[in-house]
């Protein structure tokens, strides 16, 4: 081995020009691959972090009736099916040791009813217990105007991004109840027409959910205007409202509705929903009433909480270090066993197009880097093959004096390996340095696509040890692939070549 490496190293020095060409290619490839891996990893981690930590947790529970796993940016009309079994779900979640915390929530689309003209707009709503929401996602947005709702009751946090969109469409500038118009946040066009600016501190929403025949127009006070910490142009379509108002808006039965005393006869009628209407007029109906009276008297009305009402999703965060795939399998099994009629979906599926886009961009970067290395492989193969042919008399002489084919092949592999180690190693080292330096430059963007690429608002490529190891492996693979054909050519040189090519 020492002999092979000695000869390989001296041959590198002897053929400095060729070595430099191969070295520069390897350096460029390794550098770009390292930075590329950093960008891919940073993007994946950024999207993952922003979505898991700030928006939907690791796992999302949704109704079995829900057709699409994507519950984040589903198109108009693709509403999220209601979940009626939260109490059973809660018991299941409590029993799972890998679950850190969870948040039941409503999530659907609502129409913004324009009071000044007849053209409505849409807004995604997340309905949740606002205290629990903040505990679940403590850092995902900043209240830039107004305050976070401290009291119970009707409340809405309007994203600043969507406010701008609404202004573009309706010429109305929404502000918080307490904050008034903050000039610094006004759009340029609004600022230019400040005197004529139409403002409002409340917003009228009408829920849009499939399977619900009646929704209610709700006037929400705007408690605050928020800005999401990352991916604001994506998450900025989501307003956060209190759970009861959400249910009311969407036409779901609220906890207050459920707590109301319903006469037994009416309960009976409600219980007949979906059955033959003729039965309403049947004799048993009339006959049952007296029998029911003692039961009503005996039973105290059950306490009804918000948890009895309808949700659309349950966001779940796992404990650190838990294998999410394993947790997903166990959770689905437990939910099925409990008859909860919901399924657990990983965040990347539940986030639909965002997770998909991240994968596509990551894939494109990977293909680019692979393409670069393919070109590098072709150039290295060509250069080394030429070298093998030029050195045929020398190689033939080595074979003549007793060098076996693997020795000759090893010499070429050794040359490529040394060049890879030196130039590729330098490329990786500088790539790592670049990946470390780039986040310090705080390169930021407001562009949707770039935010996906950046994994957030700030370009933050990262490199884990495993990513560096992956780059080294890729470089090693390139080295071996690039050396294979020249090794074969070199090993095929016969001792006779030492004589005949003289």
């Amino acid at each position: 081995m020492k002999l092979i490496l000695t000869i390989a190293w001296r041959n590198i020095l002897r053929h400095k020009g060729k070595s430099l060409v191969i070295g520069v290619i390897l350096f460029t490839g390794a550098f770009l691959m390292t930075v590329g891996n950093g960008v891919i990893a940073g993007m994946a981690r950024g999207v993952e972090k922003n979505i898991i930590d700030g928006f939907m947790g690791d796992i999302v529970l949704m109704s079995d009736e829900q057709k699409s796993d994507n519950i984040l940016l589903n198109m108009m009309g693709g509403s999220i099916e209601p979940v009626y079994t939260y109490k059973a779900i809660k018991e299941v979640l409590r029993a799972q040791p890998y679950v850190q915390k969870w948040l039941p929530a409503g999530k659907n689309l609502a129409m913004i009813l324009n009071e000044n003209d007849a053209t409505p707009m849409a807004l995604y709503l997340i309905g949740a217990d606002l205290t629990a929401y903040r505990e679940m996602f403590p850092d995902n947005f900043t209240v830039i105007e107004g305050t976070y709702p401290a009291r119970a009751g009707r409340a809405l946090l309007l994203p600043g991004f969507q406010r701008g969109e609404i202004y573009n469409y309706s010429n109305t500038w929404f502000m918080s109840e307490t904050g008034g118009v903050v000039k610094e946040h006004l759009k340029k066009e609004a600022l230019e027409e400040l005197a004529a600016l139409r403002v409002s501190s409340s917003i009228v929403l009408m829920g849009m959910a499939s399977g619900i025949n009646s929704t209610t127009d709700i006037r929400f006070p705007i408690n605050g205007v928020i800005k999401y910490g990352a991916l604001d142009q994506i998450f900025g379509h989501f307003a956060i409202v209190d759970l009861e108002s959400y249910r009311e808006c969407l036409g779901y039965l609220t906890a207050a509705d459920m707590a109301a005393q319903v006469p037994q006869e009416e309960k009976k009628l409600l219980g007949l929903e979906g059955a033959s209407l003729d039965s309403l007029f049947g004799e048993d109906m009339l006959a049952e009433a007296p029998k029911a009276a003692p039961v009503r008297a005996a039973a105290a009305p059950a306490a009804v909480s918000a948890e009895d009402g309808v949700y659309n999703v349950v966001f779940i965060k796992l404990k650190p270090g838990v294998n999410s795939g394993d947790a997903l399998r166990r959770l689905n099994a437990a939910l099925t066993a409990a008859g909860a009629k919901v399924r657990a979906v990983p965040w990347n599926k539940a986030s639909g197009p965002i997770g998909g886009m991240a994968l596509i961009i990551g894939g494109a970067l990977f293909v680019f880097v692979m393409l670069l290395f393919s070109v590098a492989v072709i150039i290295i193969v060509n250069t080394l093959t030429m070298s093998a042919l030029e050195r045929a008399p020398e190689l033939g002489m080595m074979r003549a004096v007793g060098a076996q084919k693997p020795f000759i092949a090893g010499m070429f592999l050794g040359e490529t390996a040394i060049l890879s180690s030196l130039f590729g190693g330098l490329g990786i080292a500088l790539g790592v340095l670049a990946v470390r330096v780039i986040p310090l430059l705080k390169i930021s963007t407001n562009n949707d696509m770039l935010q996906l690429l950046y994994g957030g608002n700030i370009f933050s490529p990262i490199l884990s040890l495993s990513a560096i190891a992956l780059t080294i492996l890729q470089l090693a693979a390139v080295t071996v692939i690039a050396a294979l054909y020249p090794m074969r050519v070199a090993a095929r040189v016969t001792p006779l070549d030492a004589v005949t090519r003289d």
Binding site: R10, A400, Q404, F407, P495, A498, V499
Partner: protein, 228 residues
């Protein structure tokens, strides 16, 4: 005892649709410790004969035995082992490894044999002294004259204590004085190491050094043996 035995050796080279016979049926026996010259004009087949004896080319037909081992049916790995362990080569154009210095070139075959670095170095140093290049031990081939390079080649050929050293026109690229000194050296090494030397030449002046001369013409041995 014969170290080389050749019977009915034929070698044909295809040249398009034509077959060009290089050896037409050579019978030859070489005794252990011989210092033998194969002579003949260009194209007579002497290089082909040396190449086949040296296991760097293959016979079309016939039997070739080197050191008691029939070589015509061996695979590449076995043939290479024979070249490494039993045969030393001296080429017309010296053929040293340009990136290794004199000592490293000489010890190269020993390292291929997996001998220890210390043992290889000791043997190489002994030989470099014997061929008179001690002060050039650290020089690369490009820093040596033709004669010096051929001395290095001789030392390398002998370093493994081979049964046979084959030299194809070893003086062809040297001036007469240097060529003579090389032949003197080969002869001396033959006496010291008791190694069989076979060398080809078409230079009549070289013949006086040979103890045995084999003349080859048109692929056949014409006159054999001739006492030196």
């Amino acid at each position: 005892m014969n170290i080389i035995e050749i019977k009915g050796l034929k070698k044909d080279y295809p040249l398009g649709a034509t077959i060009v016979p290089a050896l037409r049926g050579v019978d030859l026996e070489v005794g252990e410790g011989d210092f033998m010259s194969i002579i003949g004009p260009s194209g007579s087949g002497k290089t082909t004969l040396l190449n086949i004896i040296g296991c760097i080319d293959f016979a079309t037909s016939g039997l070739v035995s080197v050191g008691g081992r029939e070589i015509t049916a061996l695979n590449d790995r076995q043939i290479t082992d024979i070249r490494l362990n039993k045969i030393g080569f001296i080429f017309q154009t010296f053929n040293l490894i340009p990136v290794l210095d004199v000592l490293e070139n000489i010890e190269f075959p020993l390292l291929l044999m997996k001998r220890s670095a210390a043992e290889a170095r000791k043997r190489a140093e002994k030989l470099v002294e014997e061929v008179g290049l001690k002060e050039y031990a650290a020089h690369r081939p490009a820093e040596l004259s033709g004669g010096q390079r051929q001395r290095v080649a001789i030392a390398r050929a002998l370093v493994t204590n081979p049964d046979i050293v084959l030299a194809d026109e070893p003086t062809a690229n040297l001036d007469s004085v240097t060529g003579a000194s090389i032949l003197e050296l080969m002869r001396r090494m033959n006496e010291i190491e008791k190694t069989t030397f076979i060398f080809s030449t078409h230079d009549a002046n070289v013949l006086k050094y040979a103890r045995r001369i084999v003349k080859i013409k048109d692929g056949l041995i014409e006159k054999e043996p001739v006492a030196a």
